[in-house]
Symmetry: C2
Subunit: 670 residues, 2 copies
Amino acid sequence: MFKLGLCETDSPMAHNTDGEMEMKEMDIKSMSSSQRHIQYFPYIHKVGVPPKQDLFKEFTTTVKETFFADDPLRHFKDQPKSRKVVLGLQAVFPILEWAQSYNLSKFRGDLIAGLTIASLCIPQDIGYAKLANLAPQYGLYSSFVPPLIYAFMGSSRDIAIGPVAVVSLLLGTLLQNQIDPTENPAEYLRLAFTATFFAGITQVTLGFFRLGFLIDFLSHAAVVGFMAGAAITISLQQLKGFLGIKHFTKKTDIISVMQSVFGSAHHGWNWQTIVIGATFLAFLLVAKYIGKKNNKLFWVPAIAPLISVVLSTFFVYITHAEKQGVQIVKHLEKGINPSSVNQIYFTGDYLLKGFRIGVVAGMIALTEAVAIGRTFAAMKDYQLDGNKEMVALGTMNVVGSMTSCYIATGSFSRSAVNYMAGCQTAVSNIIMSCVVFLTLEFLTPLFKYTPNAILSSIIISAVIGLIDYEAMILIWKIDKFDFVACMGAFFGVVFASVEIGLLIAVSISFAKILLQVTRPRTAILGRIPRTNVYRNTQQYPEATKVPGVLIVRVDSAIYFSNSNYIKERILRWLTDEEEHLKAEYLPKIQFLIVEMSPITDIDTSGIHALEELHRSLQKRDVQLVLSNPGQVVIDKLHASDFANLIGKDKIFLTVADAVATCSPKLAEEI
Amino acid sequence: MFKLGLCETDSPMAHNTDGEMEMKEMDIKSMSSSQRHIQYFPYIHKVGVPPKQDLFKEFTTTVKETFFADDPLRHFKDQPKSRKVVLGLQAVFPILEWAQSYNLSKFRGDLIAGLTIASLCIPQDIGYAKLANLAPQYGLYSSFVPPLIYAFMGSSRDIAIGPVAVVSLLLGTLLQNQIDPTENPAEYLRLAFTATFFAGITQVTLGFFRLGFLIDFLSHAAVVGFMAGAAITISLQQLKGFLGIKHFTKKTDIISVMQSVFGSAHHGWNWQTIVIGATFLAFLLVAKYIGKKNNKLFWVPAIAPLISVVLSTFFVYITHAEKQGVQIVKHLEKGINPSSVNQIYFTGDYLLKGFRIGVVAGMIALTEAVAIGRTFAAMKDYQLDGNKEMVALGTMNVVGSMTSCYIATGSFSRSAVNYMAGCQTAVSNIIMSCVVFLTLEFLTPLFKYTPNAILSSIIISAVIGLIDYEAMILIWKIDKFDFVACMGAFFGVVFASVEIGLLIAVSISFAKILLQVTRPRTAILGRIPRTNVYRNTQQYPEATKVPGVLIVRVDSAIYFSNSNYIKERILRWLTDEEEHLKAEYLPKIQFLIVEMSPITDIDTSGIHALEELHRSLQKRDVQLVLSNPGQVVIDKLHASDFANLIGKDKIFLTVADAVATCSPKLAEEI
């Protein structure tokens, strides 16, 4: 066995003259066949110690990867000043970029898409405003101003902006915890604008300081559970309008709602309402089914809500069903958004409350919008800067809060329709906004006789799509812990409230990260037959252990939170193995090789743990050997002098090299 | 190139008949020398898909590794019932185990050690009680009962139990935020007992439910900083006694204390006090220096405090310096601990406050005790069950709270003296306890004339040892982020308060974990010359890239918090490489190999990210290839059907295998 490049000079290239190689090759040929497999690597390469980076560079690299991972200034490099200004403006207002290549064929796509989502959004907006305990016109207001702002600043081409069910419900719940919307409607409205303002500020801040990654901490699984729970809760809330119940609970949990529903079964239900609601719900669901079966008929479910509204309104108008107890919209303010700048609480007790509600609702709104943006960007293969997107969404909500809008964001259902209707750019949002403008100016009186039951049916048929049971099944298959997070969020929302569900989702997501860091996996490695590759013996049952050597792989960075566990776990592997060997009268372990490939980092506690491990092993007459420490780790092993403590010749590039060096010695001794 | 074991049957062993091997070997010999190096592995092994574990087993394994990582029931296995009872009792009361082999020679060691730590603890206790704003006898009480309980239940042989400086300061600060100790001494005392009670309950609970790993979340670096900060704060507090100042600030931050000190410079300082204090502080520091220089003289600093107390008390008694303004202890209650069971608040407003203070102080006390226990266990090489230790410490504090003690734990300085004085078992704690008992019963009147300045000097000389500047330097060398945590805790304690310092320490520790999980490292791999090993090109500058292939290693589990970043980072590596290749007119990338060895786990978000990556790569005509997915990962790749999506023949055991399969194709095309 040749052992080169370890005890000699520093340059790893120095030893590899052709002469040496030749000799090695000849040597291999003269070996017996069985030897040849074990000793495939006659050349042992030194573990690389990278040149020491200076502190400042290290710091800037970390900052860059953390906050500017997408390298947003890449395009600005090596450009003249005037071009930089243009690029800067385009970065803030992407419309300046894409408007240059805008043409009639794109406009056709946007026009159709815009009209389609407008027809879908108008009835939805009226219903969603009620979820937020606001008068119906505020839903329409929020579909007028925010989409316009977004069209200028946003970079997604497919997202449809406006109020959404989940955020409306969340906002409504959080707000009514502070102010009763029926007793103090004016104060409630002011707090809603305040929350919207701070939601926008939160979004701008996160985007501007490039903290967009914070929303990634709400895991996909938690979002799936949360959305499904919110959909159930929202549907349950609709029972009020659907059954025509007058006295309904303020709580959102399933038990309170069911008590409220069945408590009023004998005297509170209105059969006329139920008939209208059920008929149109069936119609909407059939339309949805048709759209799902045939993608070309996507417009059927898209315009079905508007048709339902028109038909049912007309029906109530001629039959005067409102006199039979069928509740109707009654009044919808005419005209576009009034200013609400001086309604926002900038002082006093409600400032802080509005701020808190705004932060929570703003984050959820962001999560939804960014998820939508990313999905469609991936489908059409264009880049989306999450942080820039947040600035756009935030600005639109800040402006919205000053023009009588409540929190708007990207809507799952309408964005999907927008995409399928062939939208090309954010112009479809402008078209939608124009339609909403016309509606507000001229058509609001027509909604007077619209029955509430229809709005409920529209909301139910819209939110049903949020229950993504296929995703849940997939989550169950892939990751049980994710499934727990998903179900935690789901049941939290359904049985307690949206806030509790959210809290559970975030907590479980964090717990998962911490658990992984606290109790990392470890594995015993064996040699895969006829190779020089060492792998987990559990995953590769055919892998064989090397006599006298125990090879342990640690599957995580060694940090304060797990250093002690890792040390004790490795010693336990050793004890188990020794007991086993003793029982079978096999030679005892003399070398413990720690495969460090997955150890991406180590901190001071980790180094201490290694030192303690080394000391314990010495007492048991076992030599600690390290294999393949990464760049950061080898750096720290040297900085802490641990490399010298165990001996630099005990650190190898691969497990195979380490075994090759340990084994011959054993062979001599045995 | 032979490609075996991938497209055929399932058993990886089936293909490896000797005949095939022979053929391959012959083939290698006929190749040219340069080819031989690249194509070292003619035999490509299949990636192992472990047999599916059933859900229950998976769950129990996770629970076991999380809570019973040390396998505490190992000894109970295959034992008769009566033996199990004995083992169970021994588990709760380790004294039953070690008392059997106790002998006279061990007792001699324990006696000397016990007497030494007693002489050290008595003056310290009196001083520490003042840090907690309690009358001096409570310090002595806490060195009487808790060590006795610990001796029966604890498993550390070297720890010295009693009140400690940092916990006393923390408790004092937290308590006086609630109740003023000079205005309501009785209520203050009751709250102190309540906090002690709940500190004990917290400790027992953590131990019993095997949640001991939670204290690992306070990183070593943070503890070093916190301790050093606390030492500075405690020393500054001693300026009151040291300078003989009467009106002193209640705050602990350095600015308030310094204002207090210099504000009273002209009229508040007492020169006689300063002379006594300074003389004995010098004496103590010299004694400490002697002990440090020569380990055999460890007893010099150990008994120096008692000598100082005796000498200074005698000096004050004959000179009547107390009439010159030298403050003295004056009164020290005689007799052992009275009962305090009915002083604990079990109802009312203070219950919750006591609970909160108890939880915080109890956790800090645990951190100190467990750190000491582990250190000495590692030095003498015996096992210490952290959870069992917590139950012992908790029980001792619960009993303590009912016998007029405040929170006791393991003391750094006294445990070190105990160790050096040759303690053998926890009997040294019993000896110390007996000496304290005798002191309480007979000697308390002698402390009447002890000047407070001496106590201050003793505390200063004791806590100076907590400033571990060598550890700080090492932390700076090894890990800059750890150093930030260390300094954060340090300056937090010194400039704000102990709670703020603690909060900073915990926050930075968590932020570090989260940052690592959010922004993991990625690396480009190249082939190390003359081997078939692929490593980070930054760490090994001699490693060469394979034309047409980009090999990326991801250094972390892929979770929701980083899945998006990882996807985008890999695509950015590709873009960078492609730009570089284009500029140099080199063949473009056709294969992107993701080396998955360090990817220890993947969740649903991670699978989604891989799917998106695959889709993006397809659009760019690049084939995604995976190398060495671990047990958990390959399982999930199959469960989610991602393995079929990219093709099972695109998953390899090693990077070398993957390159070997990709490269020949490239060779044909170019």
